[in-house]
Structure formats: structure tokens, C-alpha cells
């Protein structure tokens, strides 16, 4: 049965009134991730905006067991939870590691790569707000070309993003997917699917960040949608090597109506100093990836 707002579980594991900024896509994504795991989960979280979302001792906004772990250690912490549960013969619990792009693409890549190579049995979610937001929006390995951040304050970032999902796919893990907070039901279904699979599962979630990307708080959903409509973010999953476009990316592929990346960039203050050359480079990058996805898709 397809998940719809009608049959989506009502139970909340993320309480309202948490400490994220208004319009934070992370909060929306996390809510649906936890719903998909039915509360039968142990979560490990490194330093990030998610730490802030979780609250300040002795008050927390989540009703699932959780451990905060040092910034670089998420993949290893998840491995430890899995190993401990296994040693004690405790089955039926999902271990969820969830980290930002800084904690995934940069400082945490070693621990994550090691865990994936060991086929450690957990779901890893990278929520990608394309910068170190917790520390005030500095550049990360996922900050796009041309974007202004605290450490690329005038010229904007001079390098392209690294594609962490492809890096994770190269680990030969059984499930890799991309998702987007503006498409929470697609995200929900991917987490449900990942839950049933054994081994390291990686889900990249696109989470627009109003203050960091400089767009109005009320536009989060639209920005996320625009990212998909322009092919900046492509929704897909790779299950045991089989690639499928999912959710909104699938009809776009069928109709061939990708919008220009320029429309997406123009909505965000972080790209205010971007050059025409950079826009062309970004468009070419988006086109190339889109073509790769079309070539690989088994469901078109």
C-alpha cells in the first residue's frame, strides 16, 4: 500500500516546539524518519543542528533512545550500538545514525566508510543543508560552487560539491537512496524499505536551510521542490545495484521537463554573487548527472 497522509502513522516521536529555526527542513525530515521506524530504534547523533533540535539537558524533543557522539564518530558509534545489541542477543531494533553533511562528507567520512566497508548493520541518514550550520554556516564538502558562506564570504565557494551518495554506492552497500524533505512520503517509504534490509543503508536527505541559504522561512517546501524540478536534487534509490528514479523525479524524467538551474539559484541569497560562468558550470554538472540517472534508471 502506498503511503499517503491518510494512512501515515499518527504517532509522533519528534515533539513539536523544538529548538530548530522556523522553516527548518531537517525537523520535517526527521519527524518522518522516526515515524517510519516505529520507535523501535536507537539513534546516534554527532554535533550538528540535530543536536540543537534534540534539546538541552534535562529536556529533549525526541521520545526514542538516543546517544550524542563526537562529531567524527557517527559511523563508529552506530557500529558500536549494533555490535553491543548483537553481543547481547537483542534483535528487532534498528540502529539509526543521522548526521549533517559536515559530519558525513567531511569529518565523519572515515568512520562511515569504515562501517560501510564492514557492512555494519545500520541505517545512515545524511541530512544535507550544504554547510556547517550549527557553527554559523561555514563551507563544507557539500557547499555548492558559488555559494556564499562564513568561510567563502565574498567570492563564494570556488569548488563543486562532492557527491556523497555516489561515494557510498561505491562501497557496494545493499541500499542507497536520495530523498528530500519536501517529499516526506517518499522519504518515509525509503526509510521503511531500508529498515527491512540488512547491512549498511545510506539515505541522503536534501534539507533546505532558510537562514543558511538565505531564503524566507515560508519558502522551504518550495525551494526543496524547485531543487527537484531543476534536477539539482534527483530522487532515486539503488537497491542491490538496481537504480530507480522515484517520486517527483520519475514524472520529470518521463516528460523531459527539467527547469533551468538558474531558477533555483535565483531564489537564494547565498548565490547572489555567483557568476554566469559558474551558473553554466553548475547547469552542465546537473545535466550530466541527470543523463547518468536517465541512463541508469530501470523504471522508465
Amino acid at each position: 500500500m502506498k503511503t499517503s497522509p491518510v494512512n501515515l502513522t499518527e504517532k509522533e516521536y519528534l515533539l513539536p516546539g523544538n529548538r530548530v529555526c522556523p522553516g527548518c527542513a531537517l525537523s520535517l525530515a526527521y519527524r518522518h524518519i522516526l515515524k517510519a521506524l516505529d520507535g523501535q530504534v536507537i539513534v546516534t547523533v554527532p554535533a550538528s543542528c540535530l543536536t540543537v533540535l534534540h534539546g538541552m539537558y534535562p529536556v529533549t524533543s525526541v521520545t526514542v533512545p538516543c546517544v550524542n557522539t563526537p562529531f567524527a564518530s557517527t559511523g563508529a558509534s552506530a557500529t558500536g550500538l549494533v555490535a553491543g545489541l548483537k553481543a547481547l542477543g537483542k534483535k528487532d531494533l534498528t540502529v539509526l545514525a543521522i548526521a549533517g553533511d559536515g559530519g558525513t562528507h567531511d569529518i565523519g567520512i572515515q568512520a562511515l566508510s569504515g562501517a560501510a566497508e564492514r557492512q555494519s548493520d545500520f541505517i545512515y541518514v545524511c541530512y544535507d543543508n550544504e554547510g556547517y550550520m550549527n557553527t554559523g554556516n561555514q563551507r563544507s564538502g557539500s557547499t555548492p560552487l558559488g555559494a556564499i558562506s562564513g568561510t567563502t564570504p565574498i567570492l563564494g565557494k570556488q569548488q563543486n560539491q562532492k557527491d556523497m551518495t555516489e561515494i557510498m554506492e561505491a562501497h557496494g552497500i545493499p541500499y542507497v537512496a536520495t530523498a528530500n524533505a519536501s517529499y516526506p512520503l517518499d522519504l518515509y517509504e525509503k526509510v521503511r524499505k531500508a529498515k527491512a534490509i540488512e547491512g549498511t543503508r545510506f539515505i541522503h536527505v536534501f534539507t533546505p536551510c532558510p537562514p543558511g541559504w538565505r531564503f524566507p522561512f515560508s519558502d522551504t517546501i518550495r525551494i526543496g521542490e524547485l531543487a527537484v524540478q531543476t534536477g539539482w536534487d534527483v530522487l532515486y534509490e539503488v537497491e542491490n545495484g538496481a537504480f530507480r528514479l522515484t517520486s517527483a523525479s520519475e514524472p520529470i524524467a518521463r516528460k523531459g521537463n527539467l527547469r533551468p538551474v538558474r531558477e533555483y539559484l535565483a531564489e537564494q541569497g547565498r548565490f547572489k554573487n555567483i557568476t554566469e560562468e559558474q551558473i553554466s558550470e553548475l547547469q552542465a554538472r546537473v545535466n550530466a548527472r541527470w543523463q547518468r540517472c536517465l541512463d541508469r534508471a530501470t523504471n522508465l
Binding site: V41, H54, V67, P70, S77, A111
Partner: protein, 405 residues
């Protein structure tokens, strides 16, 4: 069935540590190889793969991850073990703080090795001393027997006071040197060491959120109850270490009752009764010091040895008692707090302050990067300190290095 026979075996120090972990029925092991600790990782892998130890062995990609694995595994209720040395231990630094702050009874065998630059794989104690302030209990072994015994005791200590324990032993001098070791039977160890009972556990049936951002000041929870701030939580760690001495001693006494080797004191004392001159050393050097003391006694000096078994918590009052009659205390350090002096010497001085002791204290930095240090040199350093005793100059600003400069 643990697969090892009880009784005397010829073991090197690394093997003794691995046997200690196995007898303690560790459930999760995560470690990363580094000279001279690597054989510990290989031995434990062999036990697990061979079906002689029912545990999860996680071959992590770094030491930081090794301790992160142990930390999280401990939080779901598993007994955990890791081992490292030198750069590996330094690489764990952040996690060492985290594990102690979370009050997890993780046990780490530290095979003491020099730290770069420049590269050096041989022994000194700079690695574990550099982790002094991370909130771990530190026990130093003098022999391979003590390594095995200390690992087993470490679990009981850690799981009583909820403070992680580092069992330190000298690289090569112990790690790669074979000695007869009395290996207790699994059944006896089981009667000494009950299964791990975690103080807290991650479980959806009773969800908790560990190590949230914690403010400096106490803060009320949803029920209006005032809960600790960061500082109170950190005070409790200090309090646990301050009080850990009693547990360390009682566990050591109980161990002695069962196995015939008592560890009821945090110190090793040799010929202190009539000693005017006391040599202080830690680890295998404390054994070498006994030979030096005997030589010096033959030369007519009344010399004893104070071996530091436990460095954290530092047994201040025991040290004061042990050094009460000393007129000259010669402290040997296989470490240096650059710009100051050897770490154990600072501790001795700090312990004696205000105790009424009036001993001359001399500090020698020795054996760095595996520089050979023999009883002869220890005795020579004591002889060299005798004029200071005559002159009554209590303190020296900086230590003397036994090296070629």
C-alpha cells in the same frame, strides 16, 4: 568453555592482556593495530574467530572509531575492551574524554610507547601520561602477571565506580617479553567478576537521550525538578575518582583472597621500613628500581622503593604515609611535562606539600623512546643526588635528564 588452561603459562605482556580480556568475558572488542600493541588485536581476533571467545570483534578503521564503538556498545549494555599505544591513544583523545564523561566502564590496555615526532616505536610513558586529565583511572603493571590480574580487576573496579580504566604496561619490556604467568581458571574469574550491569542503557522501552547539550547551570526538567548543570556532572566524575581508591583497594584485596596475589594497595612498597632514601618509579621501572635499591644497600645506604601502581586517582595520602621517613626521594619519570618536570614527580611533590615531610626531592627523566635504563643508572642517579641531601636543598626547578646532553 574459554579454551585456555588454568595454571602457569609462559606469556608475553600482550598475550597476558588478551587472556585477561578473554577471562573477563568481554562482549565487544574494537581495536586498531599499532606497534607494540598489535599482537593484542591479533590474539583477540584469533580467540573470537576460533570460537574460544563469544564476542563481537570489530576491526575498525581507526582508534577514534575503536573507542566510539566501545562507548556505544557499552551504552547498550555490553562489556567492552580496546587496546592501543602512543599515536593511537593520542588519536583517541576526544573519545577518552567522552567515555569518561558518559561514565562508561570501558577497559583499555595501553601498551606504553613513545610518541612522535620523530617516529619511535619503543617504550616510554608519554602516551598515557598525556591522557592523564581525561578522567580515566590509570593502573600501571610491573610484570605480565600484573597485566593479566589488572585487566580482570579493572572490570570490577570500572563497573563499580563507573569510571573507565586504562591498564598501562611498558612496550617491549613487558609487551614482547615472555614471563611465567599464573592464569586463573575461567570459573574462578567468573566467581570474582559478575556479569556487567550497566548503570544506564539505551532501550526504546525506556527512552533516554545521552549527552545532550548541557548548560553550565542546573536546569529544571519537564516535571519541574532541578537537574545538574555541566559543572555538577563533571564534579561527580571527580568525586568518583576521588573515592575510587577504596574500590581499587577492596577489589585488589578480594582478588588476593581468591587468587593469592593481593593488590590491596595502590602502591608497591619495597624495603621502606628503615629507608632514608626512596626511589619512586612506575611500571616495569619499579622492578628495576628494586635491583638498584639492593645494590645501594650493599653499598651501605638505606634505600627502599615506592612503585606507583595507580596513577589516577593519585594515592596522595598513601604516598605521604609511605614517604614519611624518607630524607631523600628520587623520582624517575619515563615522561616529561615539557617546560616543567616529570608527571609523577609533580604528583609526589603535590602530595607531600603540607604533610610535614621535609624530604629532598630529585627528579630524573629517563628511558624516553626506549633509551635503555638499567639498575646501574638508577643507582648512579641516587648517588648523584646524595650531595643535595647533605646540602638540604629540597627542590630543584627542573628535572635532570639521563641522556647524552
Amino acid at each position: 568453555m574459554l579454551g585456555s588452561k588454568a595454571g602457569t603459562q609462559i606469556l608475553d605482556g600482550n598475550h597476558a592482556a588478551a587472556v585477561g580480556a578473554k577471562l573477563s568475558r568481554v562482549q565487544v572488542i574494537a581495536a586498531y593495530p599499532i606497534t607494540p600493541q598489535s599482537p593484542v588485536t591479533e590474539k583477540l581476533s584469533e580467540y573470537v574467530e576460533g570460537g574460544n571467545l563469544k564476542a563481537e570483534y570489530v576491526a575498525v578503521e581507526s582508534e577514534h572509531s575503536a573507542l566510539a564503538v566501545c562507548s556505544s556498545a557499552s551504552l547498550v549494555g555490553a562489556r567492552t575492551f580496546t587496546a592501543s599505544s602512543s599515536h593511537g591513544l593520542a588519536y583517541m583523545h576526544e573519545m577518552l574524554h567522552w567515555v569518561a564523561g558518559t561514565r562508561l566502564p570501558v577497559i583499555l590496555a595501553c601498551v606504553n610507547r613513545a610518541i612522535g615526532a620523530p617516529w619511535n616505536v619503543l617504550n616510554d610513558q608519554q602516551d598515557s601520561i598525556s591522557q592523564r586529565d581525561t578522567g580515566w583511572i590509570q593502573i600501571y603493571a610491573r610484570t605480565n602477571q600484573e597485566i593479566l590480574d589488572s585487566v580482570i580487576q579493572a572490570y570490577k573496579i570500572a563497573e563499580t565506580v563507573y569510571v573507565p580504566v586504562m591498564v598501562c604496561y611498558d612496550g617491549y619490556i613487558l609487551s614482547h617479553t615472555e614471563m611465567p604467568v599464573d592464569v586463573p581458571s575461567p570459573r574462578d574469574v567468573d566467581s570474582f567478576l559478575p556479569p556487567y550491569k550497566p548503570h544506564t542503557i539505551l532501550d526504546p522501552a525506556n527512552p533516554r537521550n545521552y549527552n545532550l547539550v548541557t548548560l553550565a547551570n542546573p536546569r529544571v526538567n519537564a516535571e519541574g525538578v532541578l537537574c545538574h548543570g555541566y559543572m555538577e556532572i563533571r564534579y561527580l566524575l571527580q568525586e568518583a575518582l576521588q573515592n575510587a581508591g577504596e574500590t581499587i583497594a577492596s577489589v585488589g584485596r578480594e582478588f588476593g583472597g581468591l587468587f593469592g596475589r593481593s593488590y590491596a594497595s595502590m602502591l608497591w612498597e619495597y624495603s621502606l621500613d628503615d629507608a632514608e632514601i626512596v626511589i619512586v618509579a612506575m611500571g616495569s621501572l619499579a622492578m628495576e628500581a628494586i635491583v638498584a635499591a639492593d645494590t645501594l644497600r650493599d653499598e651501605g645506604h638505606r634505600v627502599g622503593v615506592l612503585g606507583l601502581r595507580v596513577f589516577r586517582p593519585f594515592p596522595k595520602s598513601d604516598v605521604v604515609t609511605a614517604l614519611k621517613k624518607a630524607r631523600l626521594v628520587v623520582v624517575f619519570d619515563k615522561n616529561i611535562s615539557y617546560g616543567s618536570e616529570g608527571a609523577t614527580c609533580s604528583e609526589i611533590k603535590s602530595a607531600l606539600y603540607g604533610s610535614g615531610a621535609n624530604a629532598v626531592i630529585r627528579n630524573f627523566v629517563v628511558g624516553l623512546g626506549g633509551r635503555d635504563i638499567k639498575a646501574r643508572e638508577l643507582a648512579g642517579a641516587v648517588n648523584k643526588s646524595l650531595p643535595a641531601l647533605k646540602e638540604g636543598v629540597l627542590n630543584d626547578e627542573y628535572p635532570e635528564w639521563i641522556c647524552h646532553i
